[in-house]
Symmetry: D2
Subunit: 264 residues, 4 copies
């Protein structure tokens, strides 16, 4: 079974890159399950709308994961709550709208997709480690394939969670930094691990945003309005192959930028 | 001119990897200048000692950069202050011991090596942007090649500094996260950029440290003693080619792990 | 019923102040229950030892609360776990040693004493709000008087928790900043509230520590060894009167310093 | 010479309290210089407008200090820059609009008023310690009386700065936490010190804001809109007496709340 995962989709340029490349990626990789992190797809780079989610489903993305920006578009709250193809971070407190994980048919088996937030340099969420224990317990034997999107800042926390889950899930892939890491590896027990999948969005930017205001913010420490950059796009993600036991056997990073054309 | 840069060397396993691989890397890449980040080379992964610095110089590393752990071995303070081959972060306050940058002969030209700390999620250092302005001003025309090691956590701050310096320095390479990123690119103006070079140290670890205590720290929130992990090593770095004008023309990431043997 | 609470006792000077003043405070206030925060009583200002706890019990302190430094003296872990007169923060994860709250006979009734950590600018503890819900649920009708020591940094979090608990507990008193606040008030529902009780320790100090190294730390950003200051002491706390329904009816701050002698 | 200082004025209720009480405070204390922190006076509790500043000047406030919210009302930027009665934090980077300190005639002498931001748990500002050195150097002998508003979160940083400036300025008074501390003291060298002056604003609130949304924010970790609370007000500040050498000789905290009427 093959999973294609795309990292944080940022704004309109991110959506365009995904729409433009999904057919080619589909052809080339023939994935059985496509997951994308869509926490930044709104035009201002913060949150999601139902219309944008539908656009991703239209190009054969199966499941959307989120992150710390999940609630930034207030009017999407009910949508996120109602659509089982959208997974919000599992470690928001009990009673939070939305699904902390979702199950999805893949052939004759089921896959579980989980999204969880780190706390280091992030926010006061519930413990991601114990949350994962609880969610995996709840999923039990319902899913043969388990994919975890760890939306976190600190490499130590991501590695700790990856190793904590090694042998218990099929894959642990990080998001949030918007920069792909080069440390893809299969951890003991057959768990594919990658600290960050990277982003889909504008290339000439600072993690998706127009460069000048971000630099000004650092220089002036004054309130600054950030906007999603325009221009040529980049797309980042990872392809993971699982065997019939749900163990990862192979993984390959995808990085498409104006400097690094897709090699078919 | 070719620069070989090695990311954070962690403990004895990191030192061993560098000692074992430097001859082969030297043969293969034939660098004109070798720089390594040595902020974690002490046995406990924090700071440096004169003996360990000498060991690196013995295997043809020319210049050592540091980071937030620069002062962790108290007795090395005078050593760091006296040896011009060691560069401490430039944005410690005025009056701090050590060199905020160093000049180094490369053929008939000079190279300047600068180390600077980020502030996001880090500490209360001086502004790295204005510090770079000041240091570059001081270097002036003394150096044709300028290499900057940005020791920082946040991808946004690293990209902002990279773009702020684009066209003004030869290379901006990040350290500190201990995980190599896959976003090597030549920014406009001929500045090689990489968000993080990654680490040199034990492979079966959490960013260099024994896994179990780090996981326990996240699980218990109690004081925990971390130690550098043992076992097979990994080595990460980057090779950057500069033209006679000091502009970057090519770069190649190095990643050697038990899973990813060095392909000569 | 009258409660006397003393804020963070810092080092030997803090212990001495409490030992010297407890007889006079006892005479003057005639409290029915004496509680003290002892997270800083160890000689270096971090944690507690069994010997020091016993010294406080010897001068008629009934119950000790703790804080983020609770585990800093490693060898006291089993002691904290075994002595029911010591309360550790309730929002450490499940499975943590020590009592998250304790019950204590006061006349014919019982008092519950709870210690809880804030998260803002602190650490990745469990949610203090839901933890309080759970603990109060567990205590149920066992205690008529309920005292909560909120060990936290941010005034917003302390006020939020105070108001969240207003009418459900007898008193919410803050600790951790080592500076007494002047905002004592009875919140609606009969809950005594004070953002911070202040510290017991050396007066000529920076929140209990020798001034020069703390200033040097801010000036140099280098690792610095802090030590508890010596010299004349200060003592801070609060006296709270509860009626037979466990509601706060009156409160009075105590502040004894060399500049502000105790007025009997 | 007598200074009256009022802490963070929050929203319309804060403005109303100041307008209502200034005549009585003036009568009672007969201050020679009135300073108020106005960083929260805008209707939403963030920043200032020219109209609101004028309203304060109309009731005999002489000088306004600010804080981290200084730039939150974008259209007030030019106003802050042009009016010498408004002091912005001195440790914004070089080139920032506004005055880092101001001089003000008091009888035949001059007073200097300085506003400086802490960095602990705050933001990436310039070093407040060295900034103070530089500003004091610049002021030189122009001012006999020097008042410093330290807008900071951490008690350790405020005490460190207070002690760093002891004997060099007339007074160091903190703001930002919106809760008055009870630790007023004259430091060696004749420097009046108070960790926080407290706020002027609505009493039934969480540091000025409607309680329910703030509690919800802590409970849900979701984006929440805060608004300044309404209802009965509180006013906090401090009165400091300086001798002819500019040394503090006496200080008195002011705390007026519905529970604590002003005792004339
Ligand atoms: Fe994110
Ligand atoms: Fe993101
Ligand atoms: Fe580092
Ligand atoms: Fe490091
Ligand atoms: Fe504490
Ligand atoms: Fe404390
Ligand atoms: Fe503030
Ligand atoms: Fe404020």
């Amino acid at each position: 079974m093959r999973i294609l995962f795309l990292g944080d989709i940022v704004g309109h340029p991110g959506k365009q890159m995904v729409e433009a490349w999904m057919p080619k990626l589909f052809d080339h990789y023939q994935p059985d399950l496509v997951i994308a992190n869509a926490e930044n797809i709104a035009p201002n780079g913060r949150g999601i709308t139902s219309r944008l989610a539908e656009a991703l489903f239209d190009v054969q993305v199966d499941i959307l994961t989120m992150g710390n920006h999940v609630w930034d578009q207030k009017d999407s709250l009910s949508y996120i709550d109602s659509d089982r193809r959208i997974v919000r971070p599992a470690n928001y407190p009990a009673g939070t709208p939305g699904q902390p994980y979702t199950l999805c048919k893949v052939g004759k088996e089921q896959a579980a997709i989980i999204n969880v937030l780190g706390r280091s340099f992030m926010g006061d969420y519930d413990d991601p480690f114990r949350t994962m224990d609880r969610v995996l317990d709840e999923i039990g034997t319902q899913a043969k394939y388990i994919f975890v999107d760890v939306h976190a800042e600190a490499t130590s926390e991501k590695y700790a969670l990856g190793n904590y889950l090694a042998g218990r899930v099929s894959a642990v892939v990080g998001t949030h930094t918007h920069v792909q890491t080069a440390d893809d590896r299969i951890l003991p027990g057959g768990t594919a691990y990658l600290t960050d999948a990277g982003m889909c969005g504008p290339y000439d930017s600072i993690i998706g945003f127009t460069k000048e205001p971000v630099i000004q913010k650092f220089l002036t420490q004054m309130p600054t309005r950030f906007e999603v950059a325009q221009g040529a796009g980049q797309l980042h993600g990872v392809v993971i192959d699982l065997n019939d036991a749900g163990k990862a056997v192979q993984m390959e990073r995808i990085s498409i930028t104006p400097d690094r054309p897709f090699k078919v």
